[in-house]
Symmetry: D2
């Protein structure tokens, strides 16, 4: 019996715990040996149930454990860069929830530390591992639609987050559209060169009072000449709306939403189908597992992670340009 | 038996003849009494077949016929304004193919003449009469999606027009996207206040050499606060792609393309459905009839035409702003 | 200008008038010269409006008109055979609404008269000219699904006819499923050899009291080895349900219902599409025109009509076998 | 920490191992303590990997273990009845893969033993736990379509099993359509009273030589008056085709196949979607987990299993009637 890959978890909030449970259920060759969280006390029962040996308040305890080969960072965004640096210096491979940070300097310091240490580093852009979006990317790579001309991405949440969250979220472009910036790069396999952001407060005035927008359309230009557009809304009453369309010289690929069932009721009121899966835990259930599988595989097989440090950096650059575009009412080029 | 409404046709090129044949087949209460065209000689047999009494080279002959109550103008765009003015002065009700003109002064002169004469005037934005788009508009008016937040319009041709046509077309924004500007106003029931145009030559370099673009994404802002985006391509290899999506506070309406048949083949290669109807004559076959029905109805019932002079003017204003935006690389407000 | 094909109409009830109006609007090369109907008095205004020269009470007046080359018979079923015989003897080409008759002897006499006279004869199985079903047939003929193994036909009306109509209709198998028997032969290009009928009164007890059934599932065996099944209901609350599925060695073709629009509303209640087109006048609007076009074309081009006398006879044989199967509770072979 | 429910597995062929792996990954409160299989030697590594303590050749070792509360039987059909009887006598709760047996006497002996012992007993009709079919059943139970009038079930395999398997399979009605007989009862919540079977050898003559059929249409009558039809084929080249349609007085519910992705490619060749998920392991992946969840839940909560002994018996009765119907060429009533 092969020895298990031992990993540590830093940050076990809602998302962190979901990831841990995914690991325990799906990866028999991986052992979650330790979890660190500032609310460690509350995690004891949960950890025991999952046969996790150690629960620490201080994540450095994990860094000191030589058996632990890799770290998965699910703590709050403002802690990411520091933990990445220390983990890299400790020689651990790193999976870090997106975004790395909102501060370019801190991102660069973190990525530099990773490079210097030569550890593996993967950013948590889970949607790349969604069965639908991955298929679109694969078809494009196979040349099914020829050259990409137009990319359209729709991303709408079923409901806005609490206002308190909005205030500290970094704003719609960093908190929500950042996934779409990554998706745009992923699908086109090309860098964004220019951004024009158009946005409004149409869902809830409180979001505007908190200094954010809740509805946005952002136009993109790509290095390969393609054009793109992303639309976001904080509130789609019919549920999580996650679609892309890529149009090229030889065809067009669209993906529609995943639905709980294919049942369709024809009745006096009309022909009624299921609403999309409600939100990200349902829609990206398998994608969350697949992204970890990819991470573990690249450790086990010593290959490159499929989402790199640069993949973590670029969407931040695009988001910054979008914010600037919105503030100044003009298109803004991405500066690298 | 009621007396028939007698109408005259000015311009019997391909589109003009299609309209005439539609009238003859579908409106038994309307008589096409005369047709005027600079190539009148070639139309004699066609006109006789359709029981059209007169074929003139000079459209003024039609203006002089007191029995003819209404004129339908399908001649080349540069003749529209002058003919409108003379027709209005002759007291004829007028249906004019879009666009009225590309010159604001000439548009205003034409509309002034119409207003002064008090004749009816309808512009040929046929897509408003498409069963799908009309249903979307109706559902929005009924409040089915609450307040409109986002409008998305896709309009892609199956193949680019000849380069000679491109050169005299007024450019993509005037020749192609003008329909979408109209659709945007129609669906939202609100005026466009600002435009940002992003475009490229991706289909055929010859289009670029002719001074035009062939791929474009245009972002719109509306007076009611909504945001919009239109994407156009001169070449969709799978056929005419004409879709809209309107997202609001209470829901989202999408329309997909009309297809020749609902037959679906499941085989080793996949599950294969029909491509969209090939181009505008197929897709808007019924819409062309419906727009004329609306025109004749408003003459017979003495009501307002459903597409007004202002509806003819506004898309020109938006197109001019789009051209300016593209030239200057910045969003441009609509000036009225 | 070519001379028009002059035709006469026998029977101008609701369906007959629909056909006449279709001819007038769509076939400029055909002239409806005369109409005969027992209620001729009530048709005068309607006929004048359509420029029909003669309205007769006695259909023999039409038979005597040497200018009239073809007859279209839309009178009640019990008159079909006699009129066919007389029309054939008068040398007129004949289009006859389905069914020819319910009595085998009368059908054979009518078909014999047609054959003896050498006139053209087409039966009104309009669904063969539906864009969807025709596409399925064409794809099968092209070998897209290889050998046919299974045919499934669904045919459900939006509401039952009046009980008085039910009593004289010949029963569900002759009045309703007869179209599906024809469709089964059309799609498979093979004869039905055996039938097993299963039926019930589930929609309205009054239909049972009138001696009929309102819900049925009929299993078919075909000469080429394929199996088939048809299901009928007199009442589908969501509208006219007209679908087929043909499964073969290389694939499967399905057709779904035609819908008024492709608009789809996503809202709190679900994702809601249009119900099917309500009933046969909407669903088969174009098919009614296409079947007449085929008839006129075969006269003009002197070719064989696409729906023959045998095509009129066979569904009656199948219907008789279905009735016998239901009465005797066992599968019944078709006797020819 | 609650004590785990300890279970034993009898039969660890392909399906058995799939179930075991599902338990280990998905049910942390359940421990697979022992596995028995005649090829026990080959299972040692696999069992160790999954932390299964014991691997026996003789299943009676499991019956003797007082810690093991429940047995899951995945051995060959001919062993089911005997193992059920012994397990019941040993006081174990029982999950048994379908079918219980093909011999009515043995089924009754097994069910009698279960009843006498008062142990829980669930039969493995996994499709009842499919998200789509369960939704249809739920909607029917909620009255969404009123009274059920027509049930249609399509079930087609992507490829026939090996001829050797065919020979010992019990035939298409017992091996394949038995699932559909169960589905028919499940959806209608009513017993089948009469069956008429129509079948042919269209896929592979070797299947016919082995004494079986490969294509079948079976008509059902239900105690509640509804009619039903099932069609089966051993070979659908486009993959596993698993659909149902239930039509009632207030509407109709259909389910289409599950697909790997929602990606749709529009190109010159057409509009191409994914084929259905390939076969049962993909399509019913979650259903296999859900059926075990239901079994464990009913042990833990001491409730009735959702698929009872009678649910195991009835499809056998229907299958026997179908075989008789096919042999005698007539409809056959179900005898109980």
């Amino acid at each position: 019996m092969k020895e298990k890959l031992k990993v540590g978890i830093i940050g076990a909030g809602r998302i962190g715990r979901m990831h841990v449970e995914n690991i325990v259920s799906n990866f028999r060759s991986v052992e979650v040996k330790a979890v660190a969280d500032i609310f460690a006390d509350k995690l004891v029962d949960w950890a025991r149930e999952l046969d996790i040996k150690h629960v620490y308040k201080d994540y450095r305890k994990i860094l000191e454990d030589p058996e632990i080969k890799a770290l998965l960072i699910f703590s709050s965004t403002d802690t990411h860069a520091q933990i990445i640096i220390e983990s890299a210096e400790a020689g651990k491979d790193i999976f870090c929830e997106k975004p790395i940070d909102f501060d370019l300097n801190k991102i660069h310091q973190a990525l530099d530390a990773v490079e210097k240490a030569g550890v593996k580093f993967q950013v948590g852009f889970n949607r790349r591992f969604d069965h639908n979006f991955k298929k679109v990317r694969d078809m494009i790579q196979e040349g099914k639609i020829g050259d990409v001309h137009i990319v359209k991405i729709t991303s709408r949440d079923p409901e806005p987050p609490p206002i308190e969250y909005v205030k500290s979220s970094g704003g719609l472009f960093f908190d929500m559209m950042i996934h779409d910036f990554d998706m745009a790069r992923y699908l086109t396999n090309s860098e964004v060169t220019e951004v024009y952001a158009s946005a409004a407060v149409l869902v809830d005035p409180a979001i505007g009072e908190a200094g954010d927008v809740d509805t946005a359309i952002v136009t993109l230009k790509f290095a390969n000449g393609a054009l793109g557009v992303i639309d976001n809304s904080r509130k789609a009453v019919y549920g999580y709306d996650q679609r892309v369309e890529v149009f090229g010289s030889k065809g067009c690929i669209t993906v529609s939403n995943d639905v709980p069932t294919t049942a369709v009721l024809s009745c006096v009121e009309g022909v009624i189908s299921d609403k999309p899966k409600y939100f990200f835990p349902e829609r990206y259930k398998d994608a969350y597992i697949e992204e970890l599988k990819a991470f573990f595989d690249c450790i086990i097989n010593d290959t490159e992670p499929p989402v790199t440090g640069r993949d973590g950096l670029e969407p931040i650059l695009i988001g910054m340009a979008a914010n600037k575009s919105l503030a100044e009412g003009r298109p803004v080029k991405i500066e690298r």
